[in-house]
Amino acid sequence: MLPDFKVDYSPTIEHLIGRLLPLLKGNYPFRPRAVALLLLQGDREIADLTARQEGPRFRQIQVIVKQAGQLSPPLSSSIALARHRRAQAITREVMGKPSLRPLGGLVDWLTLWPPTAFPILALILYYGLCRFVGGFGAQDLVDFIEGRVFQAWVSPIARELAARWLSPSLADLVAGEYGIITLGLRYAVGVILPVVGTFFFFFSFLEDTGYLPRLALLADRACKTVGLNGRAVIPLTLGLGCDTMATVVTRTLETTRERIIATFMLALAVPCSAQLGLIIALLAQSPLALGIWVLVVGTIFLTAGHLADRILPGPKAAFHMELPPLRLPVMGNIIMKTTARIQWYLVEITPVFLGTSLLLWFFDQRGFLQLIIQALRVPVQRLGLPPDAAQIFLLGFFRRDYGAAGLYDLRANLSTAQLTVATTTLTLFVPCLAQVAVMVKERGLPVAVLIVAAIIPLAFLVGYSLHHLLGVLPL
């Protein structure tokens, strides 16, 4: 038999519940007593439902709820306290007296003591992000799926079938330069999937070891400087995998203010793995150039975040997180979680990539792409770059890494200083089209437009300043 879980509240609360019960005659998904308790705690959703269900009786209900709202201590606290006491009593019956345990285990302690915690954090991020996601995922797996499977099999077959069965314009839509299969699907499955798949695996591993909350608490102070709190480290780190996906994940942040700041930071100064890999490859020949890129992007990240924190109204979000004990993860669970997340990713993000290639195809058909490239030539020349680089910036908008990849082809004609300016500007420059689409979906059109409008001039201004600054440096 199920034990009785009824919680006894104070006489005042029981009296208020007693007055509400005869007025609740509608159909509710749960018992009237629960509805009465939610009403007394000021639950808006249940108030709306009651208004619809009870009609004229709702006015009387409102009077009682208003009286309850004037009680001191607040009713929600008294209810929470009564429930807590009941939970304690049940715990005592089934578990005996709870004991307060000190921080257990040396490893646990080492991951929290700052002098060892930060080096451990750096090692985990290096091996997890750089070696596993960046090396194995973004290079080995992408080379295999994109290079061997798509370039060698899927795309040529799609091209041949499309040419045989479809009109030239439709064939272009399916298997042309910006085709749904040859660009959209290839990009989603061949480039992004291996990267986010390995990233999800690493992320689930961290989650199951109980390390993730430690990462958040170690990053809390740094995140506070840009108006966020430790929780934001999750979407920001995810952004190093795929900014589009990370923008979706900003949903987990508590306030709209935090979500806007995180979306802005992701769009401005968090390069995705595809872009990061190419930028590192481009600048690898000159450690000084790579250092300048890190310094400039890092400074912009901190400054822009700090400014966004100052400009946006609203209170700063407080940080709190439960800290589970560290434990050895179970591989089966990690694989299950990774698979579920990949499924979610495919359902949520793939349509965006397919839609992007559809839009690109349309622009290409109408000759808009050439027009935009022409318009971009002037600002690009101001950055000290050849006019050909305009195309790279446009492609960078449609696909961040595509821009960097275009730069890779041009690198023989560029000096190290020009490469530094171009990579820095491209990193800051507008996120890819898929990310903009998700920004509109998650934050709404006005916010997305404002973010993009802030980023374009900022990216070019930084690039312009860097071009002049590097002119006096022996690079």
Binding site: Q88, P213, A318, H320, E322
Partner: protein, 94 residues
């Protein structure tokens, strides 16, 4: 907010040293949302709290739960020393 009868002196959690064991005397939350958050975390007047660390964040133990809190949130929790019979217990009624 909760305190009515006379109680031993209490101070914000941030004023007590690491390893201190106390009970929650009151909550000084500024907004309803903040109060709701504390209550949802199980931080209610009368529960026992053990302070485990103060850097890089405040880390406290409540019953079987370990929580990390930032300075602003920790400051809203007012603690008083736990009475000897209550030490080690998170039950408000002893």
């Amino acid at each position: 907010m909760f305190a009515k009868e006379k109680k031993p002196p209490h101070a914000p959690l941030t004023c007590w040293p690491v390893h201190f064991r106390g009970t929650v005397a009151d909550l000084a939350a500024e907004t309803d949302a903040q109060l709701a958050k504390l209550l949802a975390l199980g931080i209610v007047p009368g529960v026992g709290i053990h302070i485990l660390r103060r850097s890089p964040c405040w880390i406290i133990q409540i019953g079987f739960t370990r929580l990390a809190l930032d300075e602003a949130m920790a400051r809203t929790i007012l603690l008083q020393p736990a009475h000897p019979p209550e030490a080690g217990s998170s039950d408000p009624d002893g």
